[in-house]
Structure formats: structure tokens, C-alpha cells
Amino acid sequence: MNSITQEIYDGIVNGQSPVVGQKVQEALDSGMSPVVILNEGMIAAMAEVGKRFECGEYFVPEMLIAARAMQTGLALLKPHLQQSDLQSKGKVVIGTVKGDLHDIGKNLVGMMLEGAGFEIVDLGTDVSPEKFVTAAREHHGALVAMSALLTTTMPNMKTTIEALNAAGLRGQVKVLVGGAPVTENYARQISADGYAPDASRAVALAKSLV
């Protein structure tokens, strides 16, 4: 890694949004390949952030500021990336299930997936099964990721999977679930394709499902 990609990497890991913006601009001005900036500076940095979160060194605030720094860099980088450069890891339709407005977990998963090179379609919170179905149909082949914080709303994960079934889409989409009351066991019970206990592990899970 050369010094400027290292600075971008460090800026993201340390959550320094202005530094990342400045260094990405400098890198672009110097003629550096946007793909190199993206892969070596940014995606690698978010992987490190995920690792630090998993091992208990980073917590939610550190992840939030790292993701913010990444997004600053990404906004500058995107106009310079060709469609073919992007080589998206895949698309993820993500949302908090119907009746549930809690979004911090869903947002962190979205940020980490974006940082790993996935394209995110964020449906927000209180997302009905029909909305998930429509989005899954529109974004053909996307993963569907659902979040719930409450035991009273968690059953809507099952309802959504049934709706995907009824729409004939279940064979085409993989479903990921997560959230405080959700367990591996529950994921199996409702025939989800995977469960992750946190945002960092959701990335590994999504990678294994595409």
C-alpha cells in the first residue's frame, strides 16, 4: 500500500471524515486509479473496522464515524468509477420488519456491507412483507436482510419469508436475519438462509451467500 492509500485507510479506521475527503481528492488528482483507492484504501479499512468490532476493540460510535468517513470518500470516488470498476459484491435489500422502528442495527449492517463492496437498497423501518417482496422482485438476485429488536415484531420475519414464498421468489433470494431477540435457532425455524449476531459477521455471512 502506498502512503496516500495508507492515509485513506487510517483516516477511515480512525473515523476522520475530513482527512479521508482530502486524501481521496489528492489521490484522484494525482491520477491514482479509483479502483485502487477503493480496494486498498477503503474496503480494506472497513474490513479492519469490522475486525476491531468483532474482537471488542471498537463499539458502535467508532463504527459510525468510520462508516461516515468511508461515505465521504465514496461520494468523491463514485463519479470516477466506471460501472465495470465497481464489481459489486452483490446487492442487498435491507430493512427493519413491520411494526419495528429500531434502525441502528440495520444501519450498521448496511454500512458494513457497503464498506465491503455490496450495493445497498435500504427500505428503512416498519417494512411490510409486501414491500420486501416488491423490492426483491425489482432487484433480482439481491439478498434480503431483515432486522427486528422486539419479540412482538420478530414474527414478521417469518411472515415476510412466507410472502416471498407465495410470490414465487423464495428460490431466487437468500434471506439473512438479525437483531437482539433473533437466534440461529429461530433463523432455522423460519427457514432463513442465515443469521448473524452482529454487523461485522453479517458481512461474512452475506459474502458466503452470494
Binding site: 473515523g15 463499539f59 458502535v60 459510525l64 464515524i65 461516515r68 412482538t152 449476531p197
Partner: protein, 363 residues
């Protein structure tokens, strides 16, 4: 042994006749329970205690009664949308359970979302006498018989993030500590003044705290908690004990907060709540901290109560009594307000096992 003596004995790390119990419910579950008990009463139930009639608590033979002053009372208001006295906007969201629909009140807007607003922001005044009318009544009518808890939860962090926005406040905490501290002072000063007044009025325990734990780890780092919250909680505890040295202080945080338990003990905490068993192992906490700390809660609301069976609920209560509650030091109850998805059979299995199991029984 009356309710009050039962709690006091347990908090002295001694075994009462049976384990003390405290249970709260969402308004919808309270309504269902009221019908099951054939109790009259139509007032909207406030699970934190504010405006509560205490008829359900007394019918269940609960040992503690809660009376609340502060931002936590903004939850579960009647209108579908409202703005509370802090300027925080709320909306309702419906959910469905096998036992019918319910609604949660959720935060919809934040008066300090824009940094500039902080310059002109005035928090509510905690010195208004009308805030304490209910507490005065509860102490007057029930203190001889029950353990009275003054509730000032959502003490700093939760009210501060409602003022500023969740992700915004956590970003401030990482990048702009001065700003984060300025915002936190609003709820801290309000709730401290309220708690002081509640202690002066004669409550037995003050319940403080904020959710700083997630399911598997803390939301914020232990060092960030030590930086922002430990000094404030230490001030809280020492000021309250300065008014009444016998006052007990309980601290609430959902989730896993294992790393900061020694800090809480160090600043003089008496009781930790709610101990979600899926997040922290109660038996381990008892082994490591049980000689210096009492516990309150611990009956699982994420699986056992809503999705378990009466047998599994009974089993969990008995297991807690034998481990977590060994030699006292425990007030049993659900980790959160009992939710509408809980079968009444499970609820009664919890209540009846707690109230009908003599403490020294081998069962």
C-alpha cells in the same frame, strides 16, 4: 413479613420468606391482566409508575411500587402523536400478537438535531411541585407496607439521544465530547434534581440508568462509559446518599454491560437491573459480584416468557432462586415490561412460582 421487610431483607443479602417480586407491563398487557383478574380501572397504565393506580401490582402481591419523575414518563402516552415537554416528538406504531394488536410509542423527532438549537434550548423545570404529587401520595399511602422506588431512569444517555438523535449523539461522543457533554447535562441535571426531591419525600430506592448494552457487548466502549457516565452516576449516588444514607440506588441497563459492573460497585451502587439472561449469565454475576451487589430482574423476556411454556418459566424461576437468589440479594421479575405476546399461562407460572416458593425450599 410484609412487602417492605421482604425487600429490605433481600437487599441486606439475607433470605426473606420468599423472593421479592417486581413486575411491570405494557399498557395492553395490563389491560389483559385486568380482565383476567376482573379488576376495574380504565386509566392508561404507565409501566414506569407515573400516574399508575397500583391496583395490578397489589393484586399480584408485588413487593415494590414504582413512582416516576422524568423523561421516561414520556413513553406510552395516549395520543397517536405528541410532543413531550422536552420538545421530543413521538409517534405510535402498531404491532400484532396472537393476543391482539398493541402499539408502541417511539421517538420521531429530536429538538437538538440541529446543533444551533442547543444555544436557545431550555429543558423542563424539575422544581415544579406538581411533578411530585403522585410520589407524595405513594409514600404516604403505601410506604409502611411496600418498598417505594423513585424512578429517574433514562437518566443521561437515553434522554440525551432522544434530544439529539441516536446516531448523531454517538457520533458527537466520538468526535465532539464538549458538545456531547453539553447535551447530556440537560437530562442529568433534571433527573438529579428530581431524584433528590424523591429522596427527600421518603422513597426507599432510586432507580437510575440508561441502556448502554447491546445483546453481546456494550454499545459504547467501557472507556467511553467511564468518561461520560461514570462520573455522573457517581455524583448521583453520592448526592442521594448524602441526603439519606439509607437510600438504595439501582442502575438499569439492557444488554451486556459486564465490563462496567466493577465500576458501578466502586461508585456505591446497590442493585443492578435487569440482567438479561441471554446477555449475561446470572449465576456468573452472583459468583463474581454477589457479595457486593444485589440484582433485580433476570426472568427472560426474549424467549422464555413470550415463547416458552409454563414449565420452562417455572424452571427458570426455580433455577434463579437456587443460584442468583441464593442467600438473598435478588428481586425477581421479568427483565422488561411484560409484552402482549406473553401467554397468560406463562405469566402466571412466573408470578405463582415466585410468590409460592418459600425461600429456603430445595425445590
Amino acid at each position: 413479613m410484609n412487602h417492605r421487610e421482604r425487600v429490605l431483607t433481600a437487599l441486606h443479602h439475607e433470605s426473606p420468606d420468599r423472593c421479592p417480586m417486581q413486575v411491570s407491563f405494557t399498557p395492553e398487557f395490563a389491560e389483559r391482566l385486568r380482565a383476567d383478574l376482573r379488576l376495574k380501572g380504565t386509566a392508561l397504565h404507565n409501566p414506569h409508575g407515573g400516574g399508575n393506580t397500583y391496583d395490578l401490582e397489589r393484586a399480584l402481591q408485588e413487593d415494590m411500587l414504582l413512582t416516576s419523575v422524568g423523561w421516561a414518563n414520556s413513553y406510552y402516552q395516549e395520543p397517536l402523536t405528541y410532543t413531550d415537554e422536552w420538545g421530543i416528538g413521538w409517534k405510535s406504531i402498531e404491532y400484532n400478537t396472537p393476543f391482539g394488536p398493541g402499539r408502541y410509542t417511539e421517538i420521531a423527532s429530536h429538538p437538538l438535531a440541529d446543533i444551533q438549537a442547543i444555544e436557545t434550548y431550555t429543558p423542563p423545570d424539575p422544581a415544579r411541585p406538581e411533578l411530585y404529587i403522585e410520589a407524595e401520595r405513594v409514600v404516604r399511602e403505601y410506604k409502611d407496607e411496600f418498598w417505594i422506588v423513585g424512578v429517574t431512569v433514562t437518566t443521561v444517555f437515553e434522554c440525551a439521544w432522544a434530544l439529539r438523535g441516536y446516531e448523531r449523539l454517538m457520533t458527537d461522543m466520538a468526535l465532539d465530547p464538549d458538545l456531547a457533554n453539553r447535551i447530556m447535562e440537560f437530562p442529568f441535571q433534571f433527573h438529579l434534581a428530581a431524584a433528590r426531591r424523591l429522596v427527600e419525600l421518603g422513597v426507599d430506592m432510586i432507580w437510575i440508568g440508561d441502556d448502554v448494552g447491546a445483546q453481546n457487548a456494550m454499545l459504547i466502549s467501557p472507556s467511553m462509559w467511564r468518561n461520560y457516565f461514570k462520573p455522573r452516576m457517581a455524583t448521583f449516588i453520592s448526592e442521594l446518599k448524602g441526603i439519606n444514607p439509607l437510600i438504595k440506588v439501582a442502575y438499569h441497563s439492557d444488554g451486556n454491560i459486564y465490563p462496567i459492573i466493577p465500576d458501578l460497585i466502586e461508585i456505591g451502587l446497590d442493585v443492578l437491573n435487569p440482567i438479561q439472561p441471554a446477555c449475561m449469565d446470572p449465576a456468573r454475576l452472583k459468583r463474581e459480584f454477589g457479595d457486593r451487589l444485589c440484582f433485580w430482574g433476570s426472568i427472560d423476556e426474549q424467549y422464555t416468557l413470550p415463547f416458552g411454556t409454563p414449565q420452562s418459566v417455572r424452571g427458570e424461576v426455580l433455577e434463579r432462586l437456587q443460584t442468583f437468589g441464593k442467600n438473598g440479594g435478588l428481586i425477581l421479575g421479568p427483565t422488561h415490561h411484560v409484552q402482549l405476546d406473553t401467554p397468560l399461562e406463562n405469566f402466571w407460572a412466573m408470578v405463582n412460582t415466585i410468590t409460592r416458593t418459600p425461600y429456603l425450599s430445595d425445590s
